[in-house]
């Protein structure tokens, strides 16, 4: 009897814990949207999203965030171009080619990468990549390529971890079927295992995109942060996240609301990315 009441009690504890995270997400939604949406209504959704001038201290003020949207998309795309091939091939190596000795060394290193604070990555890129970039293409060295490179490295643990486990979860029978027909190890892995792990790999890429688009502190150090639409890859950009961080400290009134509205846009991006992630996962289940 006693254990039954204890079970009931634990059940309530579990429900409260689960409810806490749901409550947190609801509160975040509420405050972000209630803080940002009125501003967007007033300023005009089109002017806000597609205005290419961000000038909060001019008069009249201008709050177009197109440059930041473009900036976020560009550095994220760059990160994907750099991070996905490296990440997926690393995962393939870990799961199908490395021997135990190398694996025991490599796997913890990659896990460690995931635990390094992002500001440390930013600092690394600032003192190592930026000077190299300055020599190569001139200017300040803080540009789209630098930021993409940095983000490409930062999303590696996400992509590697998830891709590796999805590659490992492909049934061994596929592999046996392939080598049983006379395929080499490489061919079996590349033509049967990887395609079979496709949905997990795509999920890892989407989570990587989420990570890249949300990254702030590292990007702020190396992206240049100019709020204008770049005309070449060697120009600096400002992203949605850095826009908020750079100006929140001193913003007031309409400016402050415009920054919260920027967060709304970022939040919608993240929701979209998660939505796509869920759809792909669900499709993979069927």
């Amino acid at each position: 009897m006693k254990s039954k009441s204890f079970e009931g009690f634990m059940k309530i504890v579990f429900i409260i814990c689960a409810a806490t995270s749901i409550l947190a997400i609801l509160l975040i939604c509420y405050f972000i949207f209630s803080g940002g949406v009125p501003f967007i209504m007033e300023y005009g959704l089109k002017n806000f999203l597609f205005g290419n001038k961000w000038a909060p201290s001019h008069s009249p003020q201008a709050f177009g965030i197109l440059p930041m949207i473009v900036g976020s998309l560009l550095v994220t795309l760059g990160a994907i171009i750099i991070g996905v091939p490296i990440g997926v091939l690393t995962a393939t190596y870990l799961a199908k080619f490395s021997n135990k000795k190398i694996y025991r060394f490599l796997k913890p290193s990659i896990n460690l990468m995931a635990g390094i604070p992002s500001i440390v990555y930013g600092f690394f890129a600032l003192v190592v990549v930026v000077p190299v970039m300055r020599n190569l293409v001139g200017g300040t060295g803080m540009n789209i390529i630098t930021a993409s490179l940095l983000l490409g490295i930062m999303i590696l643990p996400t992509i590697i971890g998830l891709s590796e486990s999805s590659i490992r979860s492909v049934p061994e029978s596929y592999y046996e079927g392939s080598v049983g027909l006379g395929a080499s190890h490489e061919r079996a892995v590349m033509t049967v295992i990887l395609p079979a792990a496709k949905s997990g790999i795509i999920s890892s890429v989407i989570l990587g995109i989420g990570r890249a688009i949300g990254e702030t502190m590292a990007v702020i150090l190396v992206a240049g942060n100019q709020p204008r639409i770049p005309s070449s890859l060697t120009q600096g950009v400002r992203t949605l996240t850095t826009n908020i961080v750079l100006e929140m400290g001193y913003a007031a009134e309409a400016h402050r609301e415009a920054l919260i509205a920027t967060a709304v846009v970022l939040f919608v991006f993240i929701l979209l990315i998660n939505g796509i992630f869920l759809i792909i996962k669900r499709r993979a289940m069927n």
Binding site: P171, S173, V179, G182, V192
Partner: protein, 250 residues
């Protein structure tokens, strides 16, 4: 000369002696059945014949397996070529998660046949050979995983036939299937006999009597008796064989 000669063959999983001094001659275009209780080493021997046991960690062997007189464990043997010559059908149907066409074309493509017309021809011929052409010919783009278990197993047989092997190894190919699919596969095995040397593992003795020319009875890693199927089942020489086939144990 026999197609496959197994000579003084021993197999170990680490220290465990799983196959003990196996000797067997397998003739060309014969169907040989391996029977015996589970865990007696049938799959282990089958896997040794196309070196799928290379994939098993801790597995070591000694002795010889001669294919047309040449030891397949010699250093200069290319295992990919060997596995092209000795195909395998697994216990659980394992079609790749891709279209029926791509499943069948996988082997030929592996061996560098990329001509579309040639592939079409091979795919049709193999599917016909595996007695499944009529069921899937209108839907070759369909994902093979959406077929029934019995159809999947015949796809796997077709996939193995597509590389034109000389020997076909089948490890309990019907144990995961319903009776109708089972009888389809059994009659298929009979038809394939004209062209291929077949070794089939089964723990179903009726199946062995229905399909095979020769039968080997395994017990605890040893071949107790190897003879014409009719003889082995009607006048077994060894007491243990008799006990097994009359259902007294196993």
């Amino acid at each position: 000369m026999s197609k496959l000669s197994i000579r003084n063959f021993n197999l170990y999983y680490d220290d465990f002696h799983a196959l003990k001094d196996i000797n067997m001659e397998i003739g060309e275009k014969e169907i040989t059945a391996f029977i015996g209780p589970s865990g007696c080493g049938k799959s282990s021997l089958l896997k040794s014949l196309n070196r799928m046991n290379d994939l098993v960690e801790g597995c070591s062997i000694n002795g010889e397996v001669l294919l047309d007189g040449k030891n397949i464990y010699d250093k200069d043997v290319d295992v990919n070529t060997l596995r092209k010559r000795i195909g395998m059908v697994f216990q659980k149907p394992n079609p790749f998660p891709m279209s029926i066409y791509d499943n069948i074309a996988y082997g030929p493509r592996t061996h560098n046949i990329n001509n579309k017309a040639r592939l079409d021809e091979i795919v049709e011929k193999s599917l016909r050979g595996a007695a499944i052409w009529d069921e899937v010919k209108d839907d070759l783009k369909k994902n093979a995983l959406r077929l029934s278990g019995g159809q999947q197993q015949r796809i796997c047989i077709a996939r193995a036939l597509a590389v034109e092997p000389e020997i076909l190894l089948m490890d309990e190919p019907t144990s995961a299937l319903d009776p109708i699919s089972t009888s389809k596969i059994e009659s298929l095995v009979q038809e394939l006999k004209d062209k291929y040397t077949i070794i089939i593992v089964t723990h179903n003795m009726q199946q062995a009597t229905r399909v095979s020319d020769k039968t080997a009875f395994f017990l605890s890693g040893e071949v107790i008796e190897f003879n014409d199927t009719d003889t082995l089942f009607s006048i077994p020489k060894d007491k243990r064989t008799e006990d097994y086939i009359t259902g007294r144990f196993g």
